[in-house]
Symmetry: C4
Subunit: 215 residues, 4 copies
């Protein structure tokens, strides 16, 4: 419970309360996704009703995995940040605002595909929302790595570059997905989903305990 | 707040942020169950209206106790894991996705029993949802215990086997419950509920502090 | 992150994950209370519409303060427990089930008072729900203090008795409130609310750090 | 997990459970804001429907940033408190009650601006709700700094005064916003939003690790 939001002394990592708040917002957003799912009202044909919910189920799974992936990257990024200040706090708040927004975006996407109309607008809206979030994520990274003043001093230039490249994948895939989705909506979704396998990409990551590069 | 999601050094348990995220998803899912309950609209006969909500109340209690039991087993399993990697992270994310899904499944179950139709489909859907979750749970365990590379080195073969057997009870009971429920829906529920007393089964568990086997 | 749910060695307090889960359920329940509040639909007379929501606002405040008080007592009780086992885990799960139920109970209460009918049934239902919760709370306490095997060894008999008396106040006031509320509904509420000032009662509490009795 | 709610010994900061509960209420309130947003039902004109949601989107962003700012100040304040007692606990509970109330207030605000009527009442209601919260926040500060008995002993008089002035900005801006909003509703909102840039005001804050004043 130590560490002030104003601390600029570089004596330690961002405060545990900042991490706790971020994790809670992630957890709540990811769990609120389920509220978009409503039981079919026609219980006489319940099995069919459940099957017709497939757009909502797909949207649930896609958003869950995407938010999970963003969380993992947030974890990875913050394990490298050692100096925290109010600019970083504000950027993180903006970023969390985009994360907490995703249950709504997911709901819009599911509604459009269930009605079989408005898919184009929904996919673009979904991609832009995720895109803003991933840009804010990158803004945090560019801010902390500037002059290497706020990240761990034992990180090699190559390790920093590796994170930079990794974090840029999200907005890039999002932008492509929006462009493609503007033409063929379901195809746009494929690009968003493509972010998830990133979880297994062999990356040159950083072990915060030993400082060694690990797979 | 130490421990990277990429850490493969075996220097410690899974990161506290992973545990915090998991616990939060459990807590939110278990608490969102109550949102399925809606006050009767006919307040002139409120007592009767409340009594007619019994399917929702039963569904609430069953799901609450089941999620509570899953949480306890998640706790037990993770107290034995010492090496964490991205495969484990992904499996845990998939597992959490199934946990966060349960308020919806519970809602479907309650709706069917309240309408007195669609119970068969609802019980099967409920059992399959829980079943997928318990299979993912077992997938995590089989992954970490493989070659004993990711679990505590002081665990005896017998202790590991004891956990393996224990964790297999959930998908087994679920499968039986789905089969029985396909014939006699309410009877299927009995098998799901039977998981709860597992909380008291005398088990050969593992004290993470001393490494001794405890009751 | 140490401490197994199976630990029976008495080496330490209940696991931090158990506390974290409990706190999260408290926090979510207390925050979900607000979902019962819906903006008036007639925005042409918004001020009047907001004023007419008073039963919901009162129910929100009462339940928030009561859950806050229960949380404080849960905190106080757990700061005295040093040995944890699966019976305790199960009792705590049942107790959390009653806490997570309160947003629904609160909603029923507000609905009845807003409709000006069904208040009797609503107050009894509210009181019984809180009553079950406070009995489960006491069950935990009676279980852990039995033979003094699961509480801190430095507690004097008088300190234990002081907690016992304090914790019994809740079910007592609840029972009186239900009886009175069965005759004069709003008067029953007064007894439930009376629990809140307990927060300031001079109590012979226990400082978990020094073991000294403090005011 | 140490620290009793009754502790008055001054041996340490407020209990970690109190901080955890507060953070969770902040996180849940800030994330529940999204539930006010509902996908447009007319998916045939989805883009237009989304655009017409702008009052909800603005209300979402404003409340998110304001709650984020309140959280940061709560963090800053609690990093200076070392003695905790039941009065403080109660004040904090009241304060959290006002925080958890904000998703409703935000919903009222968005509804009024979407209907283009009732804006005056909505802005006043919004301002008063935030105002009560910020007064409770200040009540906590005035209580703990009284006689300097509950704050860190290394704080200089100037540092304490600096926090006092900073914390008074919120209720002041709120009061002005309510008065202005009673005449020109949207202009009132501007004063509420003006709180957000406070995040960057150069303040004489306190580093909890070193006790040095930092920027």
């Amino acid at each position: 419970m130590t560490g002030s939001v104003e601390s600029a002394s570089g004596a330690g990592p961002p405060s545990s309360r900042l991490i706790a708040l971020s994790d809670a917002v992630f957890a709540i957003s990811i769990t609120l996704l389920v509220l978009e799912l409503r039981p079919p009202t026609d219980t006489a044909h319940l099995a069919r009703g459940l099957a017709e919910l497939w757009p909502s189920l797909v949207a649930y799974a896609v958003s869950f995995l995407l938010i999970g992936e963003i969380w993992a990257d947030h974890h990875l990024m913050y394990s490298q940040i050692v100096v925290h200040d109010r600019v970083l706090l504000f950027l993180n708040t903006l970023f969390l605002m985009s994360v907490a927004f995703l249950p709504f975006t997911t709901s819009v996407l599911a509604t459009a595909f269930r009605d079989s109309q408005g898919e184009r607008a929904a996919v673009i809206f979904y991609g832009l929302s995720f895109g803003v979030g991933s840009l804010l994520f990158n803004a945090i990274w560019w801010y902390v790595r500037r002059g290497r003043r706020r990240i761990r001093s034992d990180l090699t230039a190559r390790q920093v570059r590796s994170s930079t490249v990794r974090f840029l994948l999200a907005p890039t895939l999002n932008a492509v997905g929006v462009l493609v989705g503007a033409m063929v909506p379901p195809l746009g979704l494929v690009f968003f989903v493509a972010l998830v396998p990133l979880l297994w990409l062999p990356i040159r990551a950083v072990d915060p305990t030993s400082g060694r590069a690990t797979r």
